[in-house]
């Protein structure tokens, strides 16, 4: 592991940084209960569409405060969501006391990473219900970051299995499996997604919906991959080292999974990391249509979906687009990471 990191750092520094950004994002998602100053569904009715709170070190008298503070704000025009700063200093405390929450659903805690005793701190502003976007981004990361990874691993498992078998054995098996793949590819992905979602009832619990979305997205994703893996296996199985492995009496199963599949990694690792964004976006598409993760549970997709098509929000509250920035960051980091991994997975590049 340490060796891989060193190689990554040496070969491709950008992907090394990307790896750490991804690790950091996952850390935020896991620790959301502790880091988020407010619960994801806590509504501050007095603060709808509140802009991001500025953190100050100097007060209005230009006096320096060692402890950063925020000013308390007040809604002055509910129609236009205009806020006024009240010159009352609310210092930010670390490990501040708050409502009781369970960290990771296991350890009850009343202390959180940061917060204020008076006033409110909305690092990324609030949405129209007055919910803190920063907290929701952290909780939403749990869904958006895991849906990509779980979905990708499911569909890659299917893709490798079916593509590998199909390519290696060829003949009739190949024919049957590839026709099956074509049936899946025949439907436009978007309608297939909707149709699959429509088969299931709407009143599912959010966890069931989550699982359902993962399964639907991977069912759509595996077909194209299986085809590509099949093509690669077809060419790799003619390589001489496969003949040598056969001559050494290595079992078919081992030949497929140890000799052929790893040799497709130069392509498939990049494909994996490039397709993770597709799952994040797929989830947001479903959410946008009201078929994905339901309010009040946040995902980056459904947080964004609120502002799409709402010009007033887009022009007056651009901070509502912050989840989009996180989607962008995740996608670009995964892409760079894929690039770097492809480089270091080939021993000739060491």
């Amino acid at each position: 592991m340490k060796k891989i990191l060193q190689r990554l750092k040496k070969r491709n520094y950008i992907s090394f940084i990307s790896l750490w950004i991804i690790v950091f994002l996952y850390f935020l998602a896991i620790m959301a209960d502790f880091i988020a100053p407010y619960p994801y569904n806590k509504q501050f009715r007095d603060y709808p569409l509140c802009p991001p709170t500025k953190i100050h070190f100097f007060d209005h008298n230009k006096k320096f405060h060692l402890r950063p503070f925020v000013y308390e704000i007040k809604l002055v025009n509910p129609a236009l969501n205009q806020y006024e700063i009240i010159e009352k200093i609310c210092p930010i405390y670390f490990f501040v006391k708050g409502e009781k929450r369970k960290i990771l659903g296991l350890f009850p805690s009343t202390r959180y990473l940061f917060g204020t005793k008076q006033g409110k701190i909305f690092l990324f502003g609030t949405d129209m219900h007055g919910r803190d976007i920063f907290s929701r981004v952290l909780y939403g990361a749990r869904i958006s970051l895991s849906i990509g990874v779980i979905g990708v691993s499911l569909s890659f498992f299917l893709g490798f299995l079916i593509g590998g078998i199909s390519g290696y054995f060829g003949g009739r098996i190949d024919n049957i499996l590839m026709r099956l793949v074509e049936i899946f590819m025949m439907f436009p992905a978007f309608y297939l997604m909707l149709a699959l979602r429509a088969v299931f009832p709407l009143n599912l619990s959010s966890f069931q919906i989550y699982l359902l979305i993962v399964v639907i997205l991977s069912l759509i994703g595996w077909a194209g991959l299986a085809r590509i893996i099949r093509g690669m296996v077809l060419s790799i199985k003619e390589e001489e080292y496969i003949l040598a492995a056969k001559a050494l009496g290595i079992s078919t199963f081992k030949i497929i999974f140890k000799h052929i599949i790893p040799n497709t990694f130069s392509y498939s690792i990049t494909a994996i990391t490039l397709s993770i964004p597709g799952y994040i976006l797929g989830e947001s598409t479903l959410s946008l249509l009201g078929l994905g993760i339901q309010e009040p549970f946040p995902s980056w997709g459904n947080m964004l979906s609120v502002c799409i098509g709402n010009l007033r929000i887009l022009s007056n509250a651009p901070w509502m687009l912050i989840p989009g920035f996180f989607i962008f960051l995740t996608i670009i980091c995964f892409n760079f990471l894929g690039d770097g991994l492809r480089d270091i997975l080939d021993p000739k590049n060491w």
Binding site: E239, L243, A247, I250, P262
Partner: protein
């Protein structure tokens, strides 16, 4: 000495072409048998027939192969024999090693015994030393080794299970002369050490004489001459063998033009009806072009030529 492998009247091909015709030979214990011939005359296919790894469009049409009392043609569990009883070494070591795994990893995979990881590693390091490689090679990837080292690693891989028979498919062709002789001496030593037999495919007849007890001369999927190595080399009977030997550069003075065999190896789709060598043969008679000569024993060896015997019944 006991017979280890006996191949009897093997025909390999499909409906359109016959790649191997009427191949029969025997390999005794601790014996090196060389198969010699030009490119594309079915030497490698003979080896792949023995281990039943023929390309998909070819099959054994008739004949029998006995290995250690097992009828290979009807035997369905080849995975038990491959690697364990019969090892194989290939021509181009760099492309026969998986580029993604270390040598140790690849050798370990071919160990058939059920032993712990530590014992496996010990075993591999031992064989690497025996074969003339440093134990360090265990952690190295194929591209980090030279051609000769790669070939040694391949040999280590095919010998790790102590097979009875080693099939060597032109193992020295891709190497330079000094490394090639290193490999050949290694193979010779292994025979006494492991008590193994080798079928050695090469296109260099003088190398074949140097290494082996018996030489089989193949042409267009047929055995034209087989017998004791020195005998075949010093007193070749078949015109093709004679020509092969006159083509050797060491038989010529500097600057002298080397006489090659005129014409080309016939393609398998367009084989002559009679003796396969007849179009290029200077002793050819009318009958040669019509009938295939039978194998006959002359002068302690077997030859397939009209000059020494009769034609086969078509």
């Amino acid at each position: 000495m006991e017979k280890l492998l006996s191949v009897k009247k093997i025909v390999v091909g499909n409906q359109q072409v016959k790649i191997l015709r009427d191949i029969s030979f025997e390999v005794k214990e601790k014996e090196i048998v060389s198969i010699v011939g030009e490119s594309g005359c079915g030497k490698s296919m003979t080896l792949r027939t023995i281990i039943k790894l023929l390309p998909k469009n070819l099959e054994i049409l008739s004949g029998e192969i006995y290995f250690d009392r097992i009828e290979i043609r009807k035997y369905n569990e080849m995975e038990k024999i491959r690697g364990k009883e019969i090892g194989m070494v290939f021509q181009e070591p760099s492309s026969y090693l998986n580029p993604l795994f270390t040598i140790g990893n690849q050798i370990e995979e071919s160990i058939k015994e059920n032993i712990s990881k530590k014992e496996k590693k010990e075993k591999i390091v031992n064989i690497l030393k025996e074969i003339g490689l440093s134990p360090n090679v265990y952690y190295q990837y194929p591209h980090q080794l030279s051609g000769g080292m790669q070939q040694r690693a391949m040999i280590a891989m095919s010998l790790i299970n102590k097979p009875k028979l080693l099939l060597a498919d032109e193992p020295t062709t891709a190497l330079d002369v000094t490394t090639a002789f290193g490999i050949i001496n290694l193979l010779k030593n292994l025979i006494s050490k492991y008590g193994l037999s080798i079928i050695f495919v090469t296109h260099d007849i003088s190398l074949a004489r140097y290494i082996s007890d018996k030489i089989i001369v193949m042409y267009a999927g047929m055995i034209l001459e087989k017998g004791n190595a020195d005998l075949v080399y010093n007193k070749p009977l078949h015109p093709y063998t004679q020509k092969l030997i006159t083509c050797l550069p060491e038989k010529y003075k500097k600057g002298e033009k080397i006489r090659t065999i005129e014409g080309e190896v016939p393609s398998f789709k367009n084989l002559p009806i009679g003796c396969p060598f007849s179009p290029r043969c200077e002793y050819r008679q009318k009958l040669c072009e019509e009938k295939i000569p039978e194998e006959i024993e002359v002068d302690n060896r077997i030859v397939r030529c009209i000059r020494y015997g009769n034609f086969m019944e078509n």
